[in-house]
Symmetry: C2
Subunit: 133 residues, 2 copies
Amino acid sequence: MNAPSLDELKFGPPEAGSGGLIPVVTQDARTGAVLMQAYADRAAVQRTLDTREATYYSRSRGEPWVKGQSSGHTQRVVSVLLDCDGDSLLYRVEQTGPACHTGEYTCFHRPLLEGEPAQSGLDGTLERVYGTI
Amino acid sequence: MNAPSLDELKFGPPEAGSGGLIPVVTQDARTGAVLMQAYADRAAVQRTLDTREATYYSRSRGEPWVKGQSSGHTQRVVSVLLDCDGDSLLYRVEQTGPACHTGEYTCFHRPLLEGEPAQSGLDGTLERVYGTI
């Protein structure tokens, strides 16, 4: 796979059009990894809250989308958090299998810029371990 | 603070309008916490890559927005990842101070649905510790 460049970014206009969608960030509740970012309409959010099955709205297909319904790679929703200004949601999930349709664990697997946190010695490791426990 | 309800969600239309924006998910590279979700235009992404200062585009103000420029709560960008289909970005950052303008550590601090991962015994802890190391 070639390294991605800025030219691959799809700068879409998030302000009008199909209407009634909210961005959803999905995080693995066990590992903390960010798995994907998608959209949901009100019915999809309500279904997620009611069933704990992560449900989105597919903009390409124009219909509700229960994650893993065809692939088996379901997401059991552990918690749902609303952001400060109410225009973004976080689903924290238990992921079955890979989250990405490519077979990768997370959809965010193409680095545009790489690096590690400055704090990377033993102290940092222990801090992360304590944070994990 | 009252518990939030579905009525507080702003279901915006992400398909048209201001043009040229991509959603950005921001994660604390040290703790794994999802801090915020915002938007960037191409210039903001380029500036982020060039300077490692997390830069967004403010839809409300209609201008570029260098996180922390007025508050001091800056984000040093450790890595930037593009998702599988090129329509979402992940900034992994070292956060200075709180990420949220409310003073909370993360913007996602209002639970709509609460819970913990099923795997919460010692086995799960060790797995998370190994994953952290």
